[in-house]
């Protein structure tokens, strides 16, 4: 989240789209209701009327996978009706920047596309710089090649009728949503986006979020109280795990993962460190060498020296351009190229697309280690439906793990709050924390390598691995301090001397010369020099009255509760919204939240800086050349969709997605055998695949068995009655479940076509309870977003029939 959970109470208009917050973030919804009590309006846009929709002021539906068309239409509406926040757009975004002449967009394709590789040469997607290296700008926004005009041109095609024909949303409803939401494009109103996996789990997932960003920037809704683009993360610590680099493209603190072609530390640092010639741009990423070197010092301790490039050569590198996503990993496993697998607290046999393929691929493993608090369909894959245990060669180890309340540590919520929690109970039986399991395994590996050497022992034997307490147990506090970082020798900065061993109190003090360590620069500052853990703070003072609670726990970065907050003030540092002054420049200093940098307001031409300090140009990107599939979001149909034509261009699906072509991964778009759009989701009562919650009798009592929701119209057409058993099948798999015939799904009228959509939860699996039914992921396709490889769980095609 750019903002944080209880800041939702400051919002005036909510657009909840791609999130079912009331069901999947029930506690967060407390703040939404609080805002509603104050008079805020809630808009719910969802293919299905949900428990969120039930509390909304306005509900409308859209066909799964058509979000870019829906929001693209809103961008057009905002621009053409001049609903945008002019000062904000001109000063704080790249609207005024001039785009390279070679950049072009034609019938669904941006310039530079190579159909053979399905990749873009992005060199023409650039912003022009003058002879001094400064961006060329036209602050009147009239230049035909400025971002603002190109944006206007791009979305001019997204007219109401066309958007309605694509999305199936009635024109009147589109108008209502556009009008309600764009009312926040003024100084004293805030609009927020609440989204979740309903936006990300598409082949255009990242671009879905980009459309939100563009819309929010046009309305001046970023960096303000009650605004923002707010990803509601799922598992309570999923933000923390992302921060610690659970994904394959990053290392801790969102630094890029080193690639094989970047042979030296210098090569790597050059690649990750953007340059800006503009003295008014803070270009914070210019500090990345400090963070990368401090990270290497954290990993390899004294063994990382200036002479050995701080051990950069020991860091594993990814092959250039290779994706290491879960779908690809299991694809390679299918091909028998992976021998061993460790899965921690996940249930891929039920959670990954085309689960039959996943389960079969696992039989190719020699060994498989699973850590969990319960048995699940993944741990027991070898005895699942259709498996002959005698023929599965895989040796499986199920290690009993401690549950979250049986261990101490930090949890980072969606709002970036790092909150320390305490162990409440002893884990049962032989269960120990995953931290302990991993710590012991790696210690043993280190011992073995020390004893027996090996092909390349250096990274392992030289790894700093000293996170046990005096009794040999994994010590989460030691890890937290390591993440924060320490001074490794006495260092004097700005007249103050920090002693060797003291915690570094801010990432502004990290060094690129090996004198500091930090396992994750964004967490640097969570400890004071004397080692006080600020994540343990529980003070409820709220001096601004805006719900910032600056002394409750600690928030990355540097306890800043709302990021990009200097965009909430005008050029003179006066809050745009005096009713909710997040920040103000008073008597030569900032008052309110921790500002995004100490510099004075931009009216100070000498020392003022642009507010978007993490962007090299200092402003936010309406034109965003960093993604692989286009600098402006463009609508494409899902890989498996109901239509044979994209009404906006000749390009039916996202041209930059990776296609999986094995026979086990068939695709059946616009196929009469699979005529209905399917979307998958979760319920309040279960958590993800239900691997934990299905064992809780009160929850299974409330949501006992798998079901498919469908409209009364579809049920009538197929002769299905509510509560009857039906078969749901895609070209990849099938399952039987209970039909839930409901008024909450309605057929879509897309042009002259009527399209039916159905939906089901993926909360179930064959293991327990025995009669609960199978995973919806037997049906889903192996395909992901072009940038992130997040699977397209939200839109694909099925058939439903009576059994």
């Amino acid at each position: 989240m750019t903002n944080h959970y209880n800041d939702l109470q400051n919002c005036d208009v909510f657009l909840i789209m791609g999130s079912n917050a009331a069901e999947n973030h029930p506690i967060a919804f407390k703040w939404v209701m609080k805002a509603k009590e104050r008079g805020a309006k809630i808009i719910s846009v969802d293919p299905r009327f949900t428990r969120t929709s039930a509390r909304a002021d306005f509900y409308t539906s859209l066909r799964s996978g058509t979000d870019i068309a829906f929001i693209g239409g809103m961008i057009k509406y905002i621009l053409e009706n001049e609903k945008y926040f002019k000062d904000y757009v001109a000063n704080y975004t790249n609207a005024s920047f001039i785009v390279d002449e070679k950049f072009d967009f034609n019938d669904g394709l941006f310039s530079g596309y190579d159909p053979a590789t399905r990749r873009y040469d992005r060199s023409s997607w650039s912003l022009k710089k003058d002879n001094n290296g400064l961006p060329e700008r036209d602050l009147t926004l009239q230049h035909p090649r400025c971002v603002f005009q190109l944006l206007k041109k791009h979305y001019s095609r997204y007219d109401l009728e066309k958007v309605s024909d694509i999305t199936g949303t009635p024109v009147e409803d589109l108008k209502t949503v556009y009008e309600m939401y764009s009312s926040t494009g003024v100084k004293d109103k805030a609009g927020t986006i609440m989204y979740a996996l309903g936006q990300t789990q598409h082949t255009t997932g990242v671009q879905n979020i980009r459309t939100f960003c563009i819309m929010q920037l046009l309305l001046g809704n970023i960096g303000i109280c009650g605004g923002g683009v707010n990803a509601l993360r799922g598992e309570p610590n999923v933000q923390g795990s992302t921060d610690q680099a659970i994904l394959f493209h990053i290392i801790p603190g969102y630094l890029s993962v080193p690639q094989a072609s970047l042979k030296t530390l210098d090569d790597y640092l050059k690649r990750i460190t953007p340059k800006s010639a503009d003295p008014r741009s803070a270009n914070w990423q210019q500090n990345y060498p400090k963070y990368a070197v401090s990270l290497l010092k954290s990993w390899f301790g004294e063994n990382a020296t200036k002479e050995n490039d701080f051990s950069y050569s020991w860091v594993p590198k990814i092959d250039d351009g290779q994706d290491y996503s879960v779908m690809t990993t299991f694809d390679v496993m299918w091909d028998k190229k992976i021998k061993g697998l460790i899965v921690i607290g996940q249930n891929p046999a039920c959670s990954l697309p085309n689960a039959n393929k996943i389960r079969t691929a696992m039989t190719n493993l020699d060994w498989f280690v699973h850590m969990n608090i319960f048995d699940n369909e993944t741990a027991s894959f070898w005895k699942g439906p259709g498996m002959n245990p005698k023929k599965v060669k895989t040796e499986v180890f199920l290690l009993p793990a401690a549950a979250s309340m049986e261990k101490a540590g930090s949890m980072t919520n969606s709002g970036r709050w790092v909150q320390w929690k305490y162990k409440a109970a002893q884990p049962p039986g032989d269960a120990i924390s995953v931290g302990d399991i991993v710590y012991r395994i790696m210690s043993k590996i280190q011992d073995l390598y020390k004893k027996e050497k090996g092909t390349f022992p250096d990274p392992i034997v030289n790894l700093k691995w000293d996170y046990a307490d005096e009794k040999g147990w994994f010590d989460p506090m030691k890890v937290a301090m390591e993440m924060n970082g320490r001074f490794l020798e006495d260092v004097t900065i700005g007249g103050r001397t920090y002693k060797k061993g003291e915690c570094v109190p801010s990432f502004g003090l990290l060094q690129a010369d090996g004198k500091t360590s930090s396992g994750n620069w964004i967490y640097c500052g969570g400890f004071t020099p004397d080692g006080t853990n600020l994540a343990m703070r529980r003070k409820k003072d709220d001096p601004t009255g805006l719900g910032l609670f600056p002394q409750w726990a600690w928030v990355w970065p540097v306890n800043r509760r709302i990021i990009y907050n200097r965009a909430s003030v005008d050029l003179n540092g006066n809050p745009y919204n005096p009713k909710r002054p997040l920040l103000a420049w008073v008597d030569g200093k900032w008052v309110g939240d921790v500002p995004d940098g100490p510099w004075p307001p931009m009216a100070d031409l000498q020392n003022g800086k642009y507010p978007f300090i993490m962007k090299p140009d200092g402003v936010s990107s309406l034109f965003g050349p960093g993604l692989v599939d286009g600098p402006f979001p463009e609508f494409y149909e899902p890989l498996e969709g109901p239509l044979s034509k994209n009404l906006l261009s000749k390009q039916l699906t996202n041209p930059a997605i990776k296609l999986f072509s094995r026979s086990c991964d068939p695709v059946a778009g616009c196929d009469p055998r699979y005529p209905f759009v399917m979307t998958t989701y979760t319920s309040t009562e279960h958590w993800c695949t239900g691997g934990g919650t299905r064992w809780a009798s009160w929850l299974t009592e409330a949501m006992p068995q798998v079901y498919v929701e469908m409209s009364e119209e579809l049920a009538q057409m197929k002769g299905i009655k509510n509560g009857e058993r039906v078969k749901v099948e895609s070209t990849r798999g099938s399952l039987t479940c209970v039909a839930m015939v409901t008024t909450r799904f309605r057929p879509f009228k897309c042009g002259d076509q009527v399209i039916h959509q159905v939906g089901m939860t993926y909360n179930y699996g064959w293991l327990f309870p025995k009669d609960c039914g199978e995973s919806a992921n037997l049906l889903t396709p192996t395909v992901g977003d072009a940038n992130s490889m997040t699977p397209e769980y939200k839109a694909f095609m099925v058939n439903v029939r009576k059994v």
Binding site: A22, E23, P26, I27, F29, K30, M33, F49, R51, T52, S53, A54, R55, Y59, S683, T684, E685, A696, S697, W698, L699, T700, E701, A702, M703, P704, Q705, V706, Y707, N722, G723, E724, C737, V738, A739, M740, V741, T742, T743, R744, R746
Partner: protein, 210 residues
């Protein structure tokens, strides 16, 4: 007070009731609704009822009714039980809580059930003891809120002194009427658990109101 206009049907209350009162999860089946268990039982004293349909504009509605004993001002079930067996029911003076005792096992269940206008009482089929919400009298007497109330994320349920709750209900209904002309409190003079609805009560549940 149970304000259905704030309820998200998360069913935290339904589970919290079972947790505090040590009631088991029963074996259920999916029958084509989110509502489960289908009805009250000796093991389910708090139940979120789901009701859906289409509004005049063709758009869906989905109403949630977190059903429970109303702890009536003049509880007819208590009269019935008292008429049949001594000490079968306790009426707590300070709270008005109506609590059944194990002596209810000796009397005809249907007489008690049919005396309740809200169809609340249920019977344990094995022990024959009758059961329903106790207002968490054990918690209240120890200065704690009822379990269901503590679990509610949106404060759809609040608990307090009757005069304050009545004033709150009146104020809330007046606010809601601006957008929902049919908003009302259900039987506020007769019950201690006051529901607030924004549409005809029978659209929520046939026994929502008397």
């Amino acid at each position: 007070m149970v304000d259905t206009s704030l309820c998200t049907a998360c069913r935290g209350c339904q589970v919290a009731c079972k947790q505090w009162n040590e009631l088991p999860g029963t074996k259920t089946k999916q029958t084509g609704t989110y509502q489960n268990p289908q009805d009250f039982s000796a093991f389910t004293w708090k139940l979120v009822r789901f009701a859906e349909g289409k509004n005049g504009n063709g758009k869906p509605y989905w109403y949630f009714f977190s059903d429970m004993c109303r702890h009536c001002m003049e509880p007819p079930c208590a009269d019935t039980i008292q008429g049949l067996v001594k000490d079968g029911v306790i009426r707590d003076e300070s709270t008005g809580a109506v609590v059944y005792t194990s002596k209810t096992k000796s009397i005809p269940f249907e007489k008690v059930r049919s005396s309740c206008p809200y169809d609340i009482p249920r019977q344990n089929l094995k022990t024959k003891v009758m059961a329903k919400c106790t207002m968490c009298i054990d918690r209240i007497k120890n200065d704690r809120l009822p379990a269901c109330v503590t679990s509610c994320p949106t404060s759809a349920m609040v608990f307090g002194d009757r005069s304050q709750i009545l004033a709150k209900a009146e104020k809330r209904v007046a606010e809601l009427k601006k957008n929902y002309p049919k908003a009302m409190a259900l039987n506020p003079d007769d019950v201690r658990v006051i529901f607030i609805v924004t549409d005809d009560p029978e659209k929520y549940w046939k026994h929502a109101s008397v």
